[in-house]
Amino acid sequence: MQDQTSSVLESRVRSKAASQPVVWGQVRAVLQAVGLNPLGLILIVLLASAPLVPPFNREDLLRYLIGAALIGAQAVAFDFTTGYINVVNFGFAAFTGLGAYTSGLLAVRLGVFPWAGMFAGAIVAGLIGLFTGVLTLRLRGIFAAVMAWFVGLAVMGLARNLVDITRGKAGLNVPTFLDTPSNLPYFYIILVMLLITYLGLRLITNSHIGLAFRAIGQNMDAARASGVNPTFYRVLNFTVQCAFAGWLGGFYAHYYGILTPDVMLTSHTVEVLAVAYIGGRGSIWGGALVAFPFIFMIETLRSNLTALPGLHLVIYGLLLVIVMVFYPGGVAQLYYMAPVYLRRLRYRLGQSRVGRSG
């Protein structure tokens, strides 16, 4: 009996292997190694070609796409910390703003090339993140969340008050990456940045470091007992996240071309947070996937209902609460569980048929 089953299995495996060309298997392996699957690749190709097909080649829709990609990349970075070590960086927008201001000020005051300034922004945001992390991450997670928020408020206060340097609320005019009115090149820049953020963070989470992150996030005492130093890995994770936030801030500065302290408002953190959670915590890709339809919906709503300001934020809040209470895994869980749900559905349908016939 057992022989029979195993031979059936073997033949199945053999037939499957034979039916697929060897190249395909290798492609899959390579993709898996960098953290992609064929579906993801198809989505990326679709996204990259989106601005070339009619509804999306309008400049205003392209702006939405760019905004969505930026929020998506931010959500990916956000999930790297929330989903893995279970710490919420509640000053996320301020770290983005810090990177943006660093890059912008370097470009304005010292004439630094925007492409280099971006990385300077990442370093500064990473350093402040390191400082915040060292200070708070040996304590309970809520300290880090609240402290990051305070640091964010303080940075926003500095940007507002140091009028001589930042021009305060009047706004800082920043040179853009390119001398073109077209949004198309910017879309490809942010798309590449989104990919780099995703692949880079995926590389970390797939390594043994990612394993340590996950262990700390799930049960810190057990992780500590297994010889993982929680403070070190939490600080590492937090710093990397802040550096990515600062780097993405560089894009913000040199795309929009104007910086006000409002970049750092907590409501921007909430936007990123909502997208990351609806996308599914601990998935890394969930936020990037959800950002596009979500931001499109929100922006369309916002431009059509100017009489009702703030409605889109109510929707953000409601979705966040509903997802957190009723379906904490978000879209990522839906994706992973889809086969199970389908099987269950099929089983139920089958049962009802049996019931009817009997």
Binding site: G141, F150, G317, L318
Partner: protein, 337 residues
């Protein structure tokens, strides 16, 4: 005497003595007005922070929507008080004029309590029934969502314009220590002190108060002793909401109602709670006055707009040397150690 010396050399004693010294010095340097201002706002910050600390101690919810209770308080007080005021202009009545502000504040108290109760039943209870994993972070994010919903919901319904009053009691300001102080300020301080006293008596001397403290110390033990957890938790959030709403209503003359009016009080309450140690209710009451003094002095000596920067710097120092807060928190989070 030796007990006093021991208390004075502890961190808590040192802080309180230092605060008193700073208050006296600033009284001499900057004049009595700064100190009086600090005391009046300090009473309200104490109300807010005590509620925040209580909710964290008992329910393990780091409440980011605490400022929205304040906002609801200002809104309710405005909508109750202004029609009464208009009525009084038509038919003056000295007794009614003295009582009308209390009607607004009381209404705010009740509505704030109801909002807190509804929050617990509609959101936190639902999450608690489903999952307690990583509760503190999830609860924190839920309050963020609630805060966004409430701020923007109020904005959608009532708009962003300032809804304020110039004063509650239309009488001459009193003279005290050579400065004029409006009756509103004195009333706000009196209300805060009375409320804190009642709150403290309730928490320390009544059966229900004891049950609340029991839950904050050991939830399972409290449940075994026959305490209805759901009731205590709903009551705690309602109490905290009522106190914050009351603070908002009593300060309506300083903070006109608009959707994001609660953000500043929220920052302050969090500064206080981190400063004194998470979940320490008694410390939060003292800390409210300390932070109020700190802020008044910051805006007096350094300038308006720096009130966020200075406390953050102080808290950074504190976390470096004494992460459990000035007074150390006796009440720790239950699920997350």
């Amino acid at each position: 005497m030796s007990r006093f010396v021991r208390w004075a050399s502890s961190a808590a004693g040192l802080t309180i003595l230092a605060t008193v010294v700073v208050a006296v010095v600033s009284y001499l340097v900057a004049g009595p007005f700064t100190v009086i201002n600090a005391v009046v706002t300090g009473g309200m910050w104490a109300l807010l922070s005590a509620g925040l600390a209580l909710v964290f101690g008992v329910m393990n919810i780091p409440n980011f929507a605490h400022g929205e209770f304040f906002m609801v308080g200002t809104l309710v007080a405005y909508f109750v008080f202004t029609p009464l005021q208009a009525q009084l202009k038509v038919a003056p009545n000295p007794v009614l004029a003295a009582v009308a502000p209390f009607a607004g504040i009381l209404a705010a108290l009740v509505v704030g309590g109801l909002v807190g109760f509804a929050m617990e039943k509609l959101v936190f209870l639902q999450l608690r029934k489903r999952s307690r994993q990583q509760w503190v972070m999830n609860a924190f994010l839920l309050t963020v969502g609630l805060s966004v919903i409430m701020i923007n919901g109020v904005q959608l319904i009532w708009g962003t314009d300032f809804k304020g009053i110039s004063r509650y009691w239309d009488v001459e300001p009193l003279r005290l220590l050579g400065v004029k102080i409006s009756v509103d300020r004195i009333a706000a301080l009196g209300l805060a002190l009375v409320t804190i006293a009642i709150f403290w008596y309730f928490l320390m001397r009544t059966r229900t108060g004891r049950a609340i403290r029991a839950v904050s110390q050991d939830e399972v033990g409290a449940q075994m002793a026959g305490i209805d957890l759901n009731y205590i938790q709903a009551l705690t959030l309602a109490l905290s909401g009522a106190m914050a709403a009351m603070a908002g209503a009593s300060l309506l003359f300083m903070f006109p109602s608009f959707p994001t009016v609660g953000l500043k009080p929220l920052y302050v309450a969090w500064y206080v709670v981190i400063l004194v140690g998470l979940g320490n209710v008694a410390g939060a009451i003292v800390g409210g006055f300390i932070v109020a003094l700190l802020q008044t002095l910051t805006s007096y000596f350094i300038g308006v707009g720096w009130e966020d920067v200075v406390p953050t710097a102080l808290i950074i120092l504190l976390l470096l040397f004494r992460p459990s807060g000035l007074f150390g928190s006796e009440v720790k989070g239950i699920w997350e150690q």
